[in-house]
């Protein structure tokens, strides 16, 4: 025991928590994949499952987004953040019992939340559709986990902090603030009229920009140097990039309200700030890619890093596209089209999830001491890549078609406008099947490492009891 390196000890302290959050995240990922398939299937055949009230398209679509962001995203964030913070602080994960307990509450809250949505108790606020009854449980369990993450950070050996820590800590702290602001403005002291929409839209978009995005960026800032064994190129820019995101992102997200019944300064300032977002995007992109392309062969050889670089490229690409689509002249065409789906999937799948996959493949063997077969990882990478690209292309081309045709008032809506984008719905259905398959491979990969021999668990348990 005494010969173990400090990293080994830290990894061992994180094992239970990491395994718990990761295996729950995997189950949510599969749940979301199932919902995604059902929603896509309903768009190709409106009669599919139509006799059941619990599975209207509106409910399933919303349930999918919630399962993905809070279920998969939330659990993955807990797993990856705790481990990276522990590694960087050179401190052990403490309070595993409370972490797992809070995790159970969090997962139960989301489960009941999703059941509530399917049962017709949807709140109608973007990304806060789960019934208000589960909100307190979500907030409390989240705060427990964040508190224990801060405990790890406070007991760090090196006082100096680096980029991954800023991004991850900021994300952990921003979420409850966003959540409370939205809760206060939507339920406690309900805003009047369309201000509700401003607020829920701001929350829903900020959730992606200030919660999922920084964690993924932080993980990338950690993994790229760790795998390549070299420092981040032009690292001095990272601090500028971080504060740019912190200062600009909360403003930029409201550009989606362009032209709507809200005070005109709100979308206007959103557009200005969106354009300013090119700075932090450029910084992150320079940091990541300048470093990675110094040693691109090594990036290609390391599967975790291949996932991460796919994610960072996707981030750069999607963020620049987001800037272009925020320009009023372009928004006139793309607003309200299935381009929205392109943005959402690009962010949560092409960027966030791909980086998390990379982080998991990097961390899991170190934590459990068991390797995942290279063929299984590689299969997951290629199916994911293919599925995501197919999905995004369909939404992008379909969305542009949607917007251009909708802008011609002489075209009849359902037969001409929506009829023309129906082939793309079919493609997204195929893409979701591929992705579901790919996610199943990921979850099997993870579970096989975490529970190498499920039956022996029971056997060991019995032995302990008898002893």
């Amino acid at each position: 025991m005494t010969t173990d390196s400090p990293d080994k000890i830290i990894d061992r302290s994180a094992k239970l928590v990491f395994s718990f959050f990761l295996s729950s995240a995997g189950l949510w990922l599969l749940t979301a994949a199932l919902f995604a398939y059902l929603a896509a299937a309903k768009l190709t055949d409106p009669f599919f499952l139509s006799t059941s009230e619990y599975f209207t398209y509106g409910k399933i679509k919303v349930a999918q987004a919630n399962a993905f962001v809070y279920g998969w995203g939330g659990n993955a964030i807990f797993a990856v953040s705790l481990w990276i913070l522990a590694r960087l602080s050179q401190a052990e994960v403490r309070g595993s019992f409370f972490l797992v307990l809070a995790g159970v509450i969090w997962n139960l809250a989301i489960t009941f939340g999703l059941l509530g949505i399917l049962d017709g108790h949807m709140s109608g606020h973007e990304m806060l559709e789960m019934p208000t009854e589960v909100w307190p449980a979500m907030l409390i369990s989240y705060l427990i986990i964040t508190f224990l993450a801060l405990v790890i950070h406070r007991s760090r050996q090196i006082k100096e902090t680096i980029a991954p820590q800023w991004f991850i800590l900021a994300a952990l702290l921003w979420f409850p603030a966003l959540f409370l602001i939205a809760w206060h403005g939507l339920e406690i002291n309900t805003a009047r009229g369309t201000l509700q929409t401003v607020l829920s839209m701001w929350y829903g978009q900020s959730l992606i920009w200030l919660w999922l995005t920084p964690v993924a960026l932080g993980a990338a800032y950690y993994l790229i140097p760790a795998v390549l064994g070299r420092t981040i190129d032009k690292y001095y820019l990272a601090v500028f990039g971080f504060w740019c995101i912190a200062a600009l992102a909360p403003w930029s997200v409201v550009h989606h309200l362009e032209g709507g019944p809200v005070p005109m300064w709100i979308p206007a300032i959103g557009t200005v700030m969106s354009i300013a977002m090119v700075f932090p995007i450029a910084v992150a992109s320079t940091n990541f890619h300048a470093t990675a392309f110094l040693d691109i062969g090594k990036v290609w050889d390391s599967l975790p890093l291949r996932f991460v670089i796919f994610g960072t490229l996707s981030y750069t690409f999607s963020s620049y596209i987001g800037v272009v689509f925020s320009l009023p002249a372009v928004a006139k065409i793309t607003q309200f089209t299935i381009i929205n789906e392109f943005h959402f999937n690009q962010r949560v799948y092409g960027f966030f999830s791909m980086i998390i996959f990379g982080a998991v493949y990097f961390a899991l063997p170190r934590i459990t001491g068991r390797e995942i077969p290279i063929a299984a990882k590689s299969f997951h990478f290629w199916t994911s890549t293919f599925g995501v690209l197919l999905l995004l292309l369909a939404y992008l081309i379909g969305g542009l078609t949607h917007g251009v045709l909708a802008g011609q008032p002489s075209l009849e809506w359902s037969s001409a406008v929506i009829g023309s984008i129906q082939p793309y719905f079919l493609i997204t259905k195929i893409a979701f099947v591929i992705l579901a398959f790919s996610q199943l491979v990921f979850v099997v990969n993870v579970w096989r490492v975490i529970f190498p021999n499920p039956l022996s668990l029971f056997a060991e348990g019995k032995k302990e009891v008898s002893a």
Binding site: P46, F47, S50, T51, S52, T56, Y57, G58, K59, K61, V62, G120, H121, M122, S123, G124, L150, E160, T161, W166, L169, A170, L173, W174, A177, G185, A191, R192, G193, T194, L195, Q196, T197, V198, M201, W202, A246, A247, P250, W251, E258, G259, G260, P261, V262, P263, I266, K332, Q335, F336, T337, N340, A406, Q408, P409, S410, W413, S414, I418, Q422
Partner: protein, 376 residues
């Protein structure tokens, strides 16, 4: 960056500034937003006995809003008409004017939406669909619009084997032989009441109808221009009916008649193809025939002012055959009194009488000239 406390203050500060603007600032801006009359007096006061808008929804419609939210309709439908410079919504006939914040101040749950796989619904109640149409659409959208992607909601209805008068007949366009009868549940009735209540058909001090530029509005209110209106020989009610009729005649979007595309804006038609309306013996003659043609269209040979035409006139309106009694009365009054024509006005009651007399006629079954000409 190394001090967790300072770091936390920093990141909450950046978030807090945005919060101050969007929540605190915007809330203050919305503070005094209340329903208002369509126009204010010159000194900014509210005119006496003016109706104020928006109006509170009826109880049933309010419950319908909850159903709408709970079923997730907002996932595919927006309820906002964008400003003319930022979208095509008014052009598409989704509203008479852009939506403004004041339109929503009385709603408990604002359901603006951000995706349009289905059309915008901000003015659904203005599209003159019957309750029956809504029920048929909710039960099975494809029975009315075969290409619709909207999921059917059969769980809101009971299918009835032995129908009574109040039950609704659903005939699928895909399978004409299959006729079903449905009885709506209270939830379906709430939803329909809500959908019918969606309308922004009033002007507000901050926004005017798009077809009517603001300068014109001001001009009408300006007392110095009253002389011009008074001096015209046409009574005000007729002028209003003709104005409304002209709108139907010239409008090529949902809710319009699109008449001008064939009969031309000046009513002279197109030689050899479409008969003229100006000076036409049909237009200035029997009202009943005109009303019937406006409802069902006309096909085959017709002789107008001694010239024979042979073409097809689909049931007018977008969608076809959708013109309401009021619209038909207005547009017929318009074509009987513009371009030098002068004949008696047509009232909505007259249209309703003719519509009642044609109750058994299948929708879209076009008339022929022979059918409309009394046997001699």
């Amino acid at each position: 960056m190394n001090n967790l406390g300072k770091f936390t203050i920093g990141i909450f500060l950046t978030l807090g500034i945005a919060w101050l603007a969007f929540v605190v600032g915007a809330r203050k801006q919305y503070g005094d937003l209340v329903p208002s009359p369509q126009a204010l007096e010159e000194d900014g006061s509210i005119p006496a006995d003016a109706d104020i808008f928006p109006v509170e929804l009826a109880g049933l419609a309010k419950q319908g809003a909850e159903e709408y939210a709970s079923l997730g309709c907002v996932t595919c439908h927006t309820q906002q008409v964008r400003r003319v410079e930022t979208g095509f919504d008014v052009e598409r006939g989704w509203g008479k004017r852009p939506s403004v914040p004041r339109d929503y101040v009385l709603q408990d749950h604002v359901l603006l939406g951000n995706s349009r796989i289905g059309p915008d619904l901000a003015n659904l109640g203005l599209r003159d669909y019957s309750d029956e149409w809504f029920h048929q659409h909710l039960f099975e959208p494809q029975s009315i619009i075969p290409s619709s992607l909207c999921p059917p909601s059969p769980f809101l209805y009971d299918e009835i084997d032995e129908p009574v008068h109040a039950d609704i007949e659903v005939t699928s366009e895909l399978d004409v032989d299959k006729t079903r009868y449905i009885r709506s549940s209270i939830r379906a009735s709430r939803l329909v009441a809500y959908l019918q209540s969606l309308k922004q058909d009033y002007e507000l001090p901050e926004v005017a109808f798009v077809d009517q530029p603001v300068e014109e509005l001001v001009a009408q209110e300006d007392p110095s221009d009253v002389s011009e209106i008074v001096s015209s020989s046409i009574p005000t009610w007729l002028q209003q009916q003709m104005d409304a009729g002209k709108e139907v005649y010239m409008k090529a979007a949902a809710g319009g008649g699109m008449c001008f595309t064939c009969h031309q804006p000046n009513g002279v038609g197109l030689a050899g193809q479409f008969p003229p309306l100006a000076g036409s013996d049909w237009v200035l003659g029997d009202k009943d025939r005109l009303i019937k043609i406006s409802m069902y269209g006309l096909m085959g040979e017709i002789e107008v002012n001694g010239v024979k035409y042979n073409n097809v006139m689909a049931p007018p309106g977008i969608p076809p055959g959708s013109l309401t009694d009021d619209q038909i009365a207005n547009v017929l009054t318009y074509i009987r009194n513009d371009w030098g024509n002068s004949a008696s006005a047509v009232s909505a009651e007259e249209v309703a009488t003719v519509r009642a007399s044609l109750k058994g006629r299948a929708p879209m079954q076009m008339f022929t000239a022979a059918e409309l000409t009394p046997a001699e």
